[in-house]
């Protein structure tokens, strides 16, 4: 049986090529994602905690006193006791931009466990040491002046040494900057005579748990004592792997269509062969097993190729997504789980997809061997249409319900999509009925032929278009919400202030205390104020106040003062009318001890603070979230501020830039999603190529006849191109419609955000699919045009 399957596959190489490629891409996607995830996890697992027990505060605002170190040295079973002061420190490269991802920029006190590979330990506030990977990629040498950003302030320091270390941050591409003990404490610890944690190693013969118990006995209740095992191991960010797997699933789902279509078309072409086998005594099971054996073989080949491609994919993923520019991650080439998953997915998808066509092939009656002429036309579409309609309506109802309860969307969207996929043959019949006249008018009899060819087998057209539809519907379903949110963000970017320039910090970074002062010095700056979030306790609730420069705030916030005046703000608080109403406050009421209300205002829409106070009321260490600047020449002043700050962790934007950046914040996400979906769309495109190839093979005689009565070689291409564009656009339109509905409902379900349909992008999708259609016909058209007329006419195709 297997030998027969091999022979059959070799005889039908052209027909099996594309389904193999499709399954291969899906398998590559799955195994690439899993191998990459496993490799990252393995490289993190290699970073072992270098302590047995760690003492750290329960809440980050509590210090770990330095004198505890001495006490702990005396604890029974304690080996090495190592105080740690760590926090965030960003390293600025020679080109002025940050080295490594901002989320993984660490700073620490230098001690013996950092193994120097060059230079010396840093001494004093003017020196640092960095890890060797960072020094290498940034091109730093011992003795260089290097800039680091801590607490939002840039400092230029001398690189005293380079060390090597096993650290989770560094392993993931982050940076580690070491300062001498006093400097690190000053920078990172709550008080200069405290640390952020103390690490202990157990003396030989003492278990971690025993040591922890001993330590717990001496430390205060503010501090927590954990063994290394209790502290969560740094887990690889599995999100990337998960996202990749989701999209791999989509790609595989699309492949199912391609494989199923191929086996269906093949069964039709071989109906007589199967009937002959039946006539000479083969039973149904034999035919079924024969077709499934072919599927199995195809699955195995696709899996092996896909796995190899997946290894390549995993290797390039790192670079592709610039997930980390950390030390090279040794790639795991085999993993139990990736291999099992690849085999299961590759073979499973193929066999499942081939099952229905195989059963249909087995059902061919022996008498069919004697029939000549056209094979029996397909079953009526009625049952299929009814099923599709029911599923689609159920899906639509669930999606509509999604406006109330978001969870229903996750049920409804796939159902709706499935229903529409089942209905695609019906759509194809409708669409082509509509298209016949216009196409005939535009392209003459060539148009008629193209439309008629797509109508011939609505199931086949439907399945082919369905494959494209899936990818495009997801494209639309993610584009609509993101476009809506972007548009809404842009609308809300009006933050209720009239600043010409805004300074904000990138994620994980802060605006330093010196920032406001530095900005004020820049020529052309007319006024500056920080906006520092200050929480003021009022009874049991909190008032969200903005800590501002009381002298200049009136120039930034266009508040309507209803009573009182902002003049006395330095010694009091201004509250919004809303809050004043809630608490029944009037001017003069003391909100908190020593904080009388000096004004009640109506804030502009978009201003998200309830009150204004002097920035000096902010707790120490609380950084401004934004610095607002007024300047007549926004553009040149912005450049001046940028130069003066010279800090890559700060973003300086004019009002226009800010609004634009807010409106495009999610574009990066969208582009990544498109990149991931492109594989599915590619497989959908392959499905069009596949169908076109097989249909032209089936129609060889017809094409020969057309050529005999005077159809030029090139015109053969025209007909096939029109045909494949119709199929592709059918898939695009159905997919985009479904996707837009789902996306729109998802947006509506969030409440408050108006749905924005990104017409430009949707149009672009249609154009792209039309282009896919044209490309898809390229190869089949070439083949068809090359067959000599007589060979074509005499071939025994339908």
């Amino acid at each position: 049986m297997l030998r027969m399957a091999v022979r059959s596959i070799l005889a039908n190489k052209t027909r099996f090529l594309l389904p193999t490629v499709a399954v291969m891409l899906g398998v590559a996607f799955v195994s690439g994602a899993l191998l990459y995830g496993a490799s990252v996890q393995a490289s993190l697992d290699r970073v072992r905690p270098d302590f047995s027990v760690q003492v750290s505060p329960y809440t980050i605002d509590k210090p770990v006193p330095a004198e505890l170190v001495g006490e702990l040295r005396g604890v029974a079973g304690a080996g090495e006791v190592r105080p740690v002061a760590d926090g965030r420190a960003f390293v600025v490269g020679k080109n002025g931009s940050l080295v490594g991802p901002p989320g993984l920029a660490g700073g620490v006190n230098f001690d013996a466990h950092l193994e120097l590979v060059a230079g010396q330990a840093p001494k004093g506030a003017g020196e640092i040491a960095v890890d060797d990977w960072t020094a290498g990629r940034a091109g730093f040498k011992v003795g260089d002046q290097v800039r680091v950003v801590v607490d939002g302030n840039v400092r230029s320091v001398r690189l005293a040494g380079v060390f090597t270390v096993q650290d989770a941050r560094v392993a993931q591409g982050g940076t580690l900057t070491a300062f001498d003990d006093a400097t690190a404490r000053a920078l990172f610890a709550k008080t200069p005579d405290s640390y952020t944690a103390i690490n202990l190693t157990a003396a030989p013969g003492t278990t971690d748990a025993a040591l922890a118990a001993n330590v717990r006995a001496v430390v205060s209740k503010d501090l927590t004592v954990d063994t290394a095992a209790e502290i969560r191991k740094p887990g690889a960010d599995s999100k990337l792997t998960e996202i990749l797997l989701v999209f791999a699933g989509v790609a595989l789902f699309v492949s199912v269509f391609l494989v199923a279509n191929t086996f269906t078309m093949l069964s039709a072409a071989r109906a007589r062969e199967h009937a002959l086998l039946r006539a000479v005594g083969a039973d149904r099971r034999y035919i079924l097993r024969m077709v499934l054996a072919e599927a199995l073989l195809l699955g195995v080949v696709a899996t092996v190729l896909g796995y190899l491609l997946g290894i390549g994919g995993a290797a390039s993923l790192d670079a592709l997504f610039s997930v980390s520019d950390g030390p090279p991650i040794p790639l795991q080439v085999v993993g139990v789980w990736p291999v099992v998953a690849a085999l299961g997915v590759g073979i499973g998808v193929t066999v499942v997809a081939a099952y229905v066509p195989a059963r249909r092939a087995a059902a061919v009656p022996p008498i069919a061997a004697l029939r000549t002429g056209l094979p029996p036309s397909g079953k009526s579409l009625r049952r299929r249409n009814v099923t599709g309609l029911v599923v689609a309506l159920a899906g639509a109802a669930a999606v509509a319900g999604g406006a109330e309860s978001a969870d229903l969307i996750y049920l409804g969207a796939p159902l709706l999509l499935l229903g529409l996929i089942i209905l695609t043959p019906l759509f194809s019949v409708w669409l082509t009925a509509l298209l016949r006249r216009p196409m005939t008018r535009i392209a003459g009899v060539r148009g008629t032929l193209a439309v008629e060819n797509t109508r011939r087998n609505p199931r086949r057209t439907g399945t082919t278009a369905g494959a494209l539809m899936i990818g495009l519907s997801i494209c639309a379903a993610v584009t609509v919400p993101i476009a809506s949110v972007n548009a809404e963000d842009e609308r809300r970017a009006d933050t209720g202030d009239s600043a010409d320039i805004r300074v904000t910090a990138i994620d994980f970074a802060d605006i330093g205390a010196e920032t406001v002062g530095k900005i004020a010095q820049v020529p052309g700056v007319q006024a500056v104020t920080p906006l520092t979030p200050v929480s003021i306790g009022v009874g049991r609730t909190w008032l969200d106040a903005a800590g501002v420069d009381t002298a200049t705030i009136a120039r930034f916030v266009s508040v309507k003062v209803k009573s009182g005046s902002l003049d006395g703000l330095a010694n009091g608080i201004a509250v919004s009318a809303k809050e004043a109403d809630v608490h029944k406050w009037t001017v003069g009421t003391s909100v908190a001890p020593g904080l009388p209300i000096v004004a009640i205002f109506d804030a502009a829409e978009g201003f998200r603070y309830d009150a204004l106070v002097s920035a000096s009321r902010a707790e120490t260490g609380r950084q401004p979230s934004t610095v607002l600047v007024k300047a007549a020449q926004a553009d040149s002043v912005r450049a001046g501020i940028q130069q003066a700050l010279d800090n890559p962790t700060l973003v300086v934007q004019t009002r226009a830039e800010y609004i634009e950046s807010v409106g495009t914040q999610l574009d990066l996400v969208l582009n990544i999603l498109y990149a991931l979906l492109s594989i599915s769309v590619l497989i959908g495109a392959l499905s069009v190529v596949n169908t076109m190839t097989i249909s032209t093979l089936e129609r060889t005689r017809e094409i020969g006849l057309l050529r005999a009565v005077g159809l030029g070689r090139r015109q053969v291409g025209t007909i096939l191109r029109l045909e494949s564009v119709i199929i592709a656009v059918l898939g695009a339109v159905a997919g985009l419609l479904a996707g837009c509905v789902v996306g729109a409902v998802a947006v509506a379900g969030q409440g408050g955000i108006p749905v924005v349909l990104p017409w430009g992008r949707l149009g672009l999708f249609v154009v792209v699919t039309a282009a896919i259609g044209i490309l898809a016909a390229l190869w089949p058209a070439r083949r068809a045009a090359r067959i000599p007329i007589l060979t074509a006419i005499q071939s025994d195709t339908e």
Partner: protein, 247 residues
Amino acid sequence: MDQRTVAVADQLGKVYGTGQAAVTALAGVSAQFRQREFTAVMGPSGSGKSTFVHCLAGLDTPTSGKALIGGTDLGSLTEAGLTRLRREKIGFVFQSFNLLPTLTAWENIVLPLSLADKRPDSAWTKQVVDAVGLADRLTHRPSELSGGQQQRVACARALISRPDIVVADEPTGNLDSRTGAQILGLLQMCARHWGQTIVMVTHDPIAAGYADRVLFLADGRLVDEMAHPTPDRVLDRMRRFDAQAVR
């Protein structure tokens, strides 16, 4: 009556394959086809009849000799030129599978014109459609027509562009004798009344009886020619072939 020559076969030869495996299908056949002449081509199976008409009509390229239609040497034409020639100067009727299943009878008939983006000449079209007797079936698809009706549609298509020559390869091969007779009568009428030149391959002496002359091929050679054939004379001639073949 002036009988202009519309097609010429000049020492047409065709060899399939090379070396040991070479098969000579045609070994230099010359013939002339004049206007309003209905020629039947006969001969045993494998004698090269199909190859001859295919080469004559530009569907196949001869390996030696040449074919001329309306004074044009087919060998001198480019691919585009040949396509155009097939569309305008030649009409084909094959034994079966003559029609595109997706087009209606009418669309099939006017196909050569549609492919050239030409409008059908309504008077001529009406004449052709009336002659084949399908006026009430024009909107039907081939699958809704009988074999004989399908062949008549094919004939109408071959005639629609008023070609120099109509080439039919066993057009009645798949039909019963009565339906076949309708087709043959139609072809004969086209030649007699419309001045259409027709070349028809057939195995049937009765079919050959409709023609103005018969060419006999054997082993790729033109071995005999008979003017004003009757079925009896043709049958007689063929018996002699068989006798020769047995000997």
